[in-house]
């Protein structure tokens, strides 16, 4: 499942490099590609394939109705993913009444990879300054590296991280929709952050 993240995250948007296309003239092939990327993204966040399909269908239909206003297929893609993100957040929120039990598979792991027996940073993985992150968000190269790092996380960690940071759900909402305890959520987010920041240091910022 984690492999899906790589190709489907809207963060992968190559808006800077795509040719100018009129969205009104998007080919069937382009729409099919977009649809399949959206579906992969929705399935990562929603464990019910039918719900994922519905969310994608609605988001796509809504966006294509206004397709004339998009001058580039890249902006259509961003737009369509933004709508999809809202639809997924709605579905997740509505789950207060029908929780899906989620086990925390990686909660009991220890973090030996990063800390020694006394709980101090191991040499070589101690965080070093990242430098300026100000204009990083505009660099598609950075998001490619980010996606690869996200893909390397255990699926449940990647999922809660994206629910929290990308879809911007509150902790309580995530706990309710996944039936996770608060402490398990904190552990999953902690592990996700530990690994993500380490992977980004290794592959983007440099170990210094």
């Amino acid at each position: 499942m984690s492999a899906d993240i790589l190709s489907t995250s809207p963060l992968n948007d190559e808006s800077g490099t795509e040719p100018m296309t009129n969205a009104g003239t998007l080919s069937d092939q382009e729409i099919a590609n977009l649809r399949s990327q959206m579906l992969n993204f929705a399935r990562l966040q929603l464990d019910d394939p039918h719900l994922a399909e519905d969310a994608v269908q609605e988001a796509l239909a809504g966006a294509l109705r206004n397709a004339d206003s998009f001058t580039r297929s890249a902006s259509l893609k961003t737009w369509v993913f933004a709508i999809l993100k809202h639809k997924i957040a709605d579905v997740l929120r509505s789950r207060y009444r029908e929780p899906v039990r989620e086990e925390c598979k990686t909660c009991s792991q220890n973090d030996d990879e990063f800390f020694d027996d006394s709980g101090h940073w191991r040499a070589g993985v101690t965080p070093r300054r990242w430098g300026n992150t100000q204009e990083l968000a505009d660099k598609s190269d950075f998001w490619r590296v980010f996606d690869v790092c996200l893909e390397h996380l255990p699926a449940e960690q990647a999922r809660v991280f994206m629910m929290r940071e990308f879809i911007e759900l509150e902790s309580a909402e995530i706990c309710a929709s996944l039936e996770l305890s608060t402490s398990n959520l904190h552990v999953l987010l902690y592990r996700a952050r530990l690994k993500l920041r380490d992977c980004l240091s290794e592959n983007w910022f440099g170990r210094g």
């Binding site: 948007d13 709508i83 809202h86 101690t126 940071e165 904190h186």
Partner: protein, 66 residues
């Protein structure tokens, strides 16, 4: 005195909940002396800012809200 593992847990949890006064105090004491954990704390914040400002998604979200 907190270990780095305990300190980084608190630095991560600070993104989800308000820390207690004693947690804040021990964290401040730890990060004053530990540059690794200080960087970790900054990077956790940067991660959030980066993901939330992923290209165009903010802009598009605003237009959808209209």
């Amino acid at each position: 005195m907190l270990s780095c593992e305990q300190a980084t847990r608190l630095l991560s949890e600070r993104q989800e909940r308000a820390l207690s006064l004693s947690e804040k105090t021990s964290l401040t004491m730890h990060t004053a002396m530990c540059s690794g954990c200080r960087q970790f704390g900054r990077q956790v914040v940067s991660l959030r800012e980066l993901v939330r400002s992923a290209p165009e998604s903010k802009k598009q979200k605003k237009s959808e809200d209209k």
